[in-house]
Structures are given as structure tokens and as C-alpha cells.
């Protein structure tokens, strides 16, 4: 199913939730909405589902204007962040509920529910009630309810956010496969950049009620078109500093200076924003411009270390594989691989 938002906006009580946005989803593919909590991902999904009406603009599905069509007539399914199931119904009845409303025959319902339960490995639990299931099983029930009706558009609103780590990983691996051969257009909202990269497909970055970029996920990650996209699509947060280019020299706010190289060398003189991902800031021994900063926070994940350090007026983040002997409160040497950085103009548009 093709889904298109044409110049939609959404305001509630004078407060703008979605600024004018146009978006044509990749039909039959995985479309990821990536953005922080409150950026507008859920509102965008509700506009697609018909749960909210756009204040201005239109919504099209398969070329048809569906702006005024009720949710149940749009052929969509929606999986919420919280495990939403009917509490008094068995798992079977929960999964069957959209089919019953649609008026399918009993035999039809049984085969389709059986198939959906098999895909989501719920077959042994069909007779139980949602409250008797684990969180992962409850969410799988909700997902089964979403796939059973073969909706053309499946909206998954942070479906894994409330699951524990192991289950999240397991279900995340299964999700693309579950939807791959159903031909449905899937929209998946998440606040984690790593989840977007793992799921692949296409990604739209959402920031403060705007879609800042839309394209194949790896491309959006590697080639952010603006500062907002680079900010949304980076975890740990991307390092950003105001910079001045003058002749062949670049000087960051705070005094750090180096001679411009690559695409940056061709930029006209002026004020810019320089942004670089934390994993391009390495401890001593790496490549790039050497700096020394006082370490403020360190985080260890086992396979990698993260250090927040003071550099000029800002706090920078360095991310590096392995365990590093950084000590909080002490100055340590870092290298900034400036050739890997992004350059944005004063309006946040990517220039190099």
C-alpha cells in the first residue's frame, strides 16, 4: 500500500505538534520514524492511522484521499508501546477480534488466527488471558492482532520499548522477517538510532515536529543533510561546536584550530557548525587533531568505553572500543579525526 502525507500539519489548542510535513512512505517496506520522545512520531502515526485528523493537509492511501476515512475503514493496524490487549478475552479471541468485527466465517478466523499464532509462537498460549502472559508474549499477542487482518499499513509505535533487553533483541530480529513476505507497508517508530540501523529499510528522522530527512537508513546515517538529522541519528550524542573558517585555518569556539582539509578546505570563509560522531574522537594513539580535556563522566559497556570531557565551552563525547583507563576529574589526551566531521552552515544545512 502506498501512503502519502501531503503538507499535513497538526495543532492542538494553538500548540503546533507537527509542522508542515510531506512524506511518501516506501510501499511494502520497513519505514522507520526515528526521533526523541515528544518529537512527533506518535502524532505522525496517528495521522496515518486516522486516529487524529490533520489540521491542514491531506492523507493519501493507494492514491485515494483518506483524510476523512475512519481508522477501521483504512485497513491499518497499530501496535502500541504499551501492551494493549482486551483484558477479559483469551489470546485467541484477542487475535480474532478484528476478524470478528470484519465478519469473517468461523473456519476462516480459526485458520488465520492459527497461522498468526504460529508465526509469533503463541500457539500454546491461545487459551490464556493476556494478564497470565509475560510482557513479551503480551506484545506478541498485540503484534499477532496487527498481522492477522493483513492490513496494508502496519504501524508499530515503539513496540519493543517496554520489553527487557533479551526479548527486545529476539523480537527485533523477527520483526522484519514477519512482515517481509506480507507485502504490507510497515512504519516503525523508535527513539534508538541503533534500532533503526539494525532494522534497516528506510528512515525518516523526526525532530521537534518536523521530518528532517527521509531515505535508505544507512544513507541517512552516513550522509545527514542537516544538523538536526545528525543530532537525532547519533547515540551517544554527536559533538557539535561553532567554528570559524578563515583562509585555510579552521578555529572552533574555544580555541582549537587546525588546517582545513578535504571538502571543508573548499568552503568559503565564514561561520559554520562542526559536528563529529563520538567514535571519531579517540583516545591517544588514534588519528587526528590532538586535544586535552578534563574527563567528567565515564561509561563502560564492556566492549567499548565512553568518556565525556570538557573542551572549550562545551562537553565532548569520545567513544572507543575496549576498556580505557580514563579517570574522572583528570585531564586526558584525545584525538579528533576532523576529516570525518560534518560541516553545516548557520541554518543547519549540510555544506561539507
Amino acid at each position: 500500500m502506498t501512503v502519502e502525507l501531503r503538507a499535513v500539519t497538526r495543532s492542538v489548542g494553538g500548540e503546533v505538534h507537527i509542522h508542515e510535513t510531506s512524506l511518501a512512505l516506501k510501499p511494502g517496506g520497513f519505514n522507520i520514524l526515528l526521533g526523541a520522545t515528544g518529537a512527533g512520531k506518535t502524532t505522525l502515526m496517528k495521522l496515518m492511522a486516522g486516529l487524529d485528523r490533520p489540521t491542514t493537509g491531506r492523507v493519501f492511501m493507494d492514491g485515494r484521499d483518506v483524510t476523512d476515512v475512519a481508522p477501521q475503514k483504512r485497513g491499518v493496524s497499530f501496535v502500541h508501546q504499551f501492551f494493549i490487549n482486551y483484558p477479559t478475552m483469551s489470546v485467541f479471541d484477542n487475535i480474532a477480534s478484528p476478524l470478528r468485527v470484519a465478519g469473517l466465517s468461523k473456519a476462516d478466523i480459526e485458520t488465520r488466527v492459527g497461522r498468526a499464532a504460529e508465526i509469533l509462537r503463541l500457539t500454546p498460549m491461545l487459551k490464556r488471558r493476556p494478564a497470565e502472559l509475560s510482557g513479551g508474549q503480551q506484545q506478541r499477542t498485540a503484534i499477532a492482532r496487527a498481522i492477522v487482518k493483513d492490513a496494508g499499513l502496519v504501524l508499530l509505535d515503539e513496540p519493543l520499548a517496554n520489553l527487557d533487553y533479551k526479548l527486545r533483541e529476539e523480537l527485533r530480529d523477527q520483526l522484519p522477517a514477519i512482515f517481509a513476505d506480507r507485502g504490507a507497508t510497515v512504519v516503525y517508530a523508535t527513539s534508538e538510532p541503533s534500532e533503526a540501523l539494525l532494522l534497516g529499510g528506510h528512515t525518516a528522522t523526526v525532530d521537534a515536529g518536523r521530518i528532517t530527512q527521509f531515505g535508505p537508513t544507512p544513507q541517512v546515517y552516513r550522509d545527514p543533510g542537516n544538523l538536526a538529522t545528525a543530532g537525532v541519528f547519533s547515540d551517544p550524542p554527536i559533538n557539535v561546536a561553532a567554528a570559524v573558517k578563515s583562509g585555510d585555518r579552521v578555529t572552533l569556539d574555544g580555541g582549537l584550530t587546525w588546517s582545513a582539509e578535504g571538502a571543508a578546505a573548499r568552503l568559503p570563509d565564514g561561520r559554520y557548525h562542526f559536528a563529529i560522531r563520538p567514535h571519531h574522537v579517540s583516545p591517544e594513539g588514534g588519528t587526528g587533531v590532538p586535544v586535552t580535556g578534563q574527563v567528567l563522566i565515564t561509561e563502560l559497556s564492556g566492549s567499548e568505553s565512553v568518556a565525556h570531557f570538557a573542551l572549550g565551552p562545551a562537553t565532548w563525547v569520545a567513544q572507543s572500543p575496549g576498556v580505557h583507563p580514563w579517570r574522572v576529574g583528570e585531564p586526558h589526551a584525545f584525538r579528533i579525526d576532523t576529516a570525518r566531521g560534518f560541516w553545516f552552515d548557520d541554518n543547519g544545512r549540510r555544506v561539507a
Binding site: 477501521q72 493496524s77 477480534s97 468485527v101
Partner: protein, 287 residues
């Protein structure tokens, strides 16, 4: 070094004393009266379970108990569904929410004897607004001071007016705590309003409704003030509920033994039914 001492008893003593004086001592006094025959001059004679037998087999008690059960059952049958309907109709957001909540709270804030007095005057056939309207404008012969049926209707109308708000407020609190996502899921499924009520709202309200039924059962089973002011148990004995009858025996006839036995039976019935409700409530929680 001795680490154990008895000092901790001093810390619980205030509670023990408090409970003793406000619950245990009065209750035991009643138990004391219930097994003795009382004569003037403060003379008491042991009478065993005589009073209990007499009360339980007396037609007067059985009739009062019957009226009491009928009253409680009727007001529950009316107030619980009506409370749910009103709560469902109330706005969930906007400026009307506080207005509705205040309006709903008003009957609950009026002293019970005032409620009785209000309805007593309101329903008087010659001067009361309701009574006069029914008799003179609608043309129904309505006189609750003379006609038992009219007295019952007035009594039930008064209790519904006074207490439905409690059910409304409890149900409303339960309703607003249901996450929007449930309603969205129902919308996506295309579920009917009835299905939303049956499969989302009612299950999510089950606990708060159990509490509402329990509270309304206890309160209505022990009702005294409003009835006493409105009808005083009349006309005849037609609205003499258990508590009214109890006061007649205890203070009117000063039969301390039977009154004490009746109090205990009354208390045990209330306790038993409340216990059943409590068991049902905790069993539902286990699920």
C-alpha cells in the same frame, strides 16, 4: 549485656488502649447485655442465648430484615448502573470537568440529617415542591406520610439522590485511568461502543466497582439518620429498617437484652457480607 527488654510494650500501649476503648469495650458491653436479663435497680440475670433465639425467630425482626434487604438490593440495582451511565456521560477533559465533579460531590457533602429533612419537606404533599407538583399539577395522589408505596419510593429516591454520586465519582476515577491506547486499539479494530464498554471499560472498572458495591452495601445496610428523619419508620412499620427497629427496641422500649442480641446479629450479617465481598475482590486481584 542484656539486649532484650519489655520496653517495646510501652510503644504499642497507646494503640491497644485506643482500640480497647473505642471498639473492644463497647462491643463487649453489648455482648454482656445480650446474654443477660436486665431488671431495674441494675439487677442482671444470666439468660444464655435466649435473646438470640427470640430475635431470630421473631416475625418483627424477620420483617425488618426483609425490608432492609429489599432496600439495599433496590438501591444497589439502581445506583450502580445509574452511576456508571452518568460517569460514562461525563466529559473526560475540558472546562466542564471540574463543574461536573463539584456538582457530583454536592450531595455527598450534605449532612445526613439535613438530607432527610430536605426530602421530608420537598416531598410533603401540601407544601413540598415535589409533593405539591405531583398532587396538583400531575394529578397523582401522592402522600408519603400515609401511603407505604409512596414512602418507599420517596425513601429510595432520596438515597439514589444522596449516594449515586459516590458511584459516579469512583467509576469516573476508574474511567480516566484507562490509557487512551485502549480506545485507539478499539477504533482501529472498528469495535462498537458496546464492545468498548464490555471488553475494555467494564473489565478495567471491575475493581473500582467492587469497592463501590461494597461501600454502598455497608452504608445502605446500616442506614439510619435519613430514614429516621424522613419517615421515622412509618407509615406504620412499612419503612422500619433494621437500624430503626433496633433503636425502637433499645431506646423506646429499653429492652437492653434483645436489643444487644439484635445488634450483634446485625453486626455479624454486615461483617459476613463484607467478608464475602473482600474475598471476591482479592480473588480477582490474583488473576
Amino acid at each position: 549485656m542484656k539486649t532484650e527488654n519489655q520496653r517495646a510494650w510501652f510503644l504499642v500501649a497507646p494503640v491497644v488502649l485506643l482500640v480497647a476503648f473505642n471498639a473492644l469495650v463497647p462491643l463487649m458491653t453489648v455482648v454482656n447485655y445480650s446474654v443477660q436479663e436486665t431488671f431495674g435497680n441494675n439487677q442482671f440475670f444470666w439468660s444464655g442465648l435466649k435473646w438470640f433465639e427470640e430475635i431470630l425467630t421473631s416475625e418483627r425482626f424477620q420483617a425488618a430484615l426483609g425490608r432492609q434487604l429489599f432496600f439495599t438490593f433496590t438501591i444497589l440495582i439502581i445506583q450502580i448502573p445509574l452511576g456508571i451511565i452518568i460517569a460514562l456521560a461525563m466529559p473526560r477533559r475540558g472546562i466542564w470537568v471540574p463543574v461536573c465533579l463539584v456538582l457530583m460531590s454536592l450531595p455527598l457533602l450534605i449532612p445526613w440529617n439535613v438530607v432527610g429533612a430536605m426530602w421530608n419537606i420537598f416531598a410533603l404533599p401540601d407544601i413540598g415542591l415535589l409533593g405539591y407538583f405531583l398532587n396538583q399539577v400531575v394529578g397523582i395522589d401522592y402522600n408519603y406520610t400515609r401511603d407505604p408505596v409512596a414512602a418507599w419510593i420517596t425513601l429510595i429516591a432520596m438515597d439514589v439522590w444522596h449516594w449515586t454520586s459516590l458511584v459516579v465519582l469512583l467509576t469516573y476515577a476508574g474511567l480516566v485511568s484507562i490509557p487512551d491506547a485502549y480506545y485507539q486499539a478499539a477504533k482501529i479494530d472498528g469495535a462498537s461502543p458496546w464492545a468498548v464498554f464490555r471488553y475494555i471499560q467494564l473489565p478495567k472498572l471491575s475493581r473500582v466497582l467492587t469497592i463501590a458495591v461494597l461501600l454502598r452495601f455497608m452504608d445502605s445496610f446500616m442506614i439510619y439518620t435519613e430514614v429516621s428523619v424522613l419517615t421515622g419508620g412509618g407509615p406504620g412499620n412499612s419503612t422500619t429498617l433494621l437500624s430503626i427497629d433496633l433503636v425502637k427496641i433499645a431506646l423506646g422500649q429499653f429492652d437492653l437484652g434483645p436489643a444487644a442480641a439484635m445488634s450483634l446479629i446485625y453486626f455479624l450479617i454486615t461483617l459476613a457480607v463484607s467478608w464475602v465481598f473482600y474475598t471476591v475482590m482479592t480473588r480477582n486481584e490474583g488473576k
